[in-house]
């Protein structure tokens, strides 16, 4: 889990044009795209967004395995949307499945919803995978997000790595002592693991928190983003043009 996060940050720090774009531009662009995706109510708009995001991920050299892993959750919900709408939304009945009638109109609405879910998922993935958390936090502060919220976000993120390190160490030790040899033994071990993990990470956190305070480190997010450069302006313009084109599509294109 946290290994994956580390990979994300590893990619986000990499030398790709997507990672170099100012996070403020990305946040503004992503917000616009999410709004258009949700409000347009059009197959075409969601389809174009999904395609554009997929191309962007390929162009940005985001690893394919990572792309597939991240889109797995929205994809399961896309399936859920098709099933639920085919059953619950009226229209012409084209088949029956036990006590449920399957509706053609509902099926097509489900397809649209699934496209919207996939497009929305891809938009968020592009932002998450290409932006390191500290730059994201700085950008959120620039957009006036509450400092306490940002601080909790950074603390949570930091502790994820501590939990991962301690968890691996303790579970290996338990396995070596046959702590998971039966279901009953496993249950007792999992409770012990949960409690011990909590206390060990807590104590480690207390020590580093004290050390940070002694060094004069403040709680509020430090640093500032540099002024937007040529790449950021170009990216902002490209997103604005793309959003304009999508809006025209939504207004004049097929529903």
């Amino acid at each position: 889990m946290t290994g994956a996060s580390r990979n994300d940050d590893g990619y986000a720090w990499g030398d790709s044009f997507l990672s170099r774009i100012d996070p403020r531009v990305k946040i503004a662009g992503v917000t616009g795209l999410l709004m258009v995706n949700l409000l347009a109510a059009s197959y075409l708009v969601s389809g174009v967004i999904a395609l554009a995001m997929a191309l962007l991920m390929i162009a940005g050299r985001i690893p394919y395995r990572r792309q597939l892993l991240m889109i797995a959750f929205p994809a399961t919900f896309a399936l859920f949307a098709i099933i639920s709408q085919t059953v619950f939304k009226g229209g012409e009945v084209f088949a029956a499945l036990g006590p449920f009638d399957l509706h053609l109109e509902g099926f097509f609405h489900g397809l649209y919803l699934s496209l919207r879910v996939i497009a929305g998922g891809l938009i968020v993935v592009v932002l998450g995978v290409t932006t390191p958390l500290n730059r994201l936090c700085l950008a959120l502060r620039w957009f006036r997000a509450p400092a306490t919220f940002i601080e909790i976000m950074q603390l949570t993120y930091r502790y994820l790595f501590d939990i991962h390190a301690e968890f691996s160490r303790m579970r290996e030790a338990q396995q070596a002592r046959l702590g998971w040899s039966s279901a009953r033994c496993g249950l007792a071990s999992s409770r012990l693991l949960g409690g011990s993990l909590f206390l060990r990470v807590y104590e480690r956190g207390l020590r580093s928190s004290e050390a940070m305070r002694c060094r004069g480190s403040g709680p509020v997010v430090n640093g500032a983003l540099s002024r937007p450069g040529r790449l950021d302006i170009l990216a902002g313009l490209a997103v604005a043009v793309f959003l304009g084109a999508l809006s025209l599509l939504a207004l004049g294109g097929p529903a």
């Binding site: 409000l39 959750f73 929205p74 919900f77 998922g121 968020v124 939990i163 999992s190 807590y202």
Partner: protein, 219 residues
């Protein structure tokens, strides 16, 4: 289960955002005050935020429904830090999961906060308090919190899905169907969450009781 980006309509997404913002705002005010008085609370808060993140990122497939369910973690955070702070931790965990795993979403963030962060925290906390007032032991009360908090979260998520996807059927019918579909995986998960919450809280009480000092553990 987190509702993904794009599934719920814009009006409903906005409607869920409003109460979520109120709860998170109130939690942030309290948290800011707490951190100013007690800076040493930071490790506990960060740690519980990370616990909520990890616990609620264990997807278990729901047979026949094409989706996943998972434990919540917010009831345990509510017992140790209070429900409003747990709401903030839940919202942070949900945002990080949406960004790094596409597990949840940005426009559906408000709806997810209401079901997992607010519903799980407040229901779990209420179950804990009522159990303690009824004279039940610490472990059983914490277990009740985990069990009830988990089921309330899924009840709320099912309601949100029903409102968004009911089509031409009554919302109550779709709500019932969605909740019933989750039950085969959710009841065992709620029991597992109850055992885990009870185990961790009792372990902390036995090993480091000072963490629970001044916290709402005593009846």
């Amino acid at each position: 289960m987190h509702i993904p980006e794009g599934l719920i309509p814009a009006q409903q997404a906005a409607a869920w955002y409003a109460p979520a913002a109120a709860f998170v705002g109130a939690g942030l005010v309290g948290l800011k005050r707490r951190l100013a008085i007690q800076p040493s609370a930071r490790p506990l808060i960060g740690l519980l935020g990370a616990f909520v993140f990890v616990i609620s990122l264990m997807p278990i497939p729901v047979p026949g429904l094409g989706t996943v369910s998972h434990p919540c973690g917010t009831p345990m955070a509510a017992i140790l830090l209070g429900p409003l702070t747990a709401t903030v931790l839940g919202s942070v965990a949900l945002l990080l999961q949406a960004l790094f795993f596409a597990h949840g979403g940005i426009t559906s963030w408000g709806a997810n906060i209401i079901s997992m962060a607010v519903g799980g925290s407040f229901a779990g906390f209420a179950a804990f308090r009522i159990s303690r007032r009824a004279g039940l032991g610490l472990g059983i009360s914490a277990g009740m919190a985990g069990f009830i908090g988990d089921l309330v979260t899924y009840g709320l998520t099912s309601l949100q899905l029903a409102l968004a996807l009911h089509g031409d059927e009554p919302v109550s019918y779709v709500w019932g169907a969605a909740f019933a579909s989750f039950l085969p995986t959710q009841v065992p998960l709620a029991i597992a969450e109850a055992l885990f919450t009870a185990g961790v809280v009792v372990f902390i009480a036995n090993q480091r009781a000072e963490i629970l000092e001044g916290v709402v553990v005593r009846p």
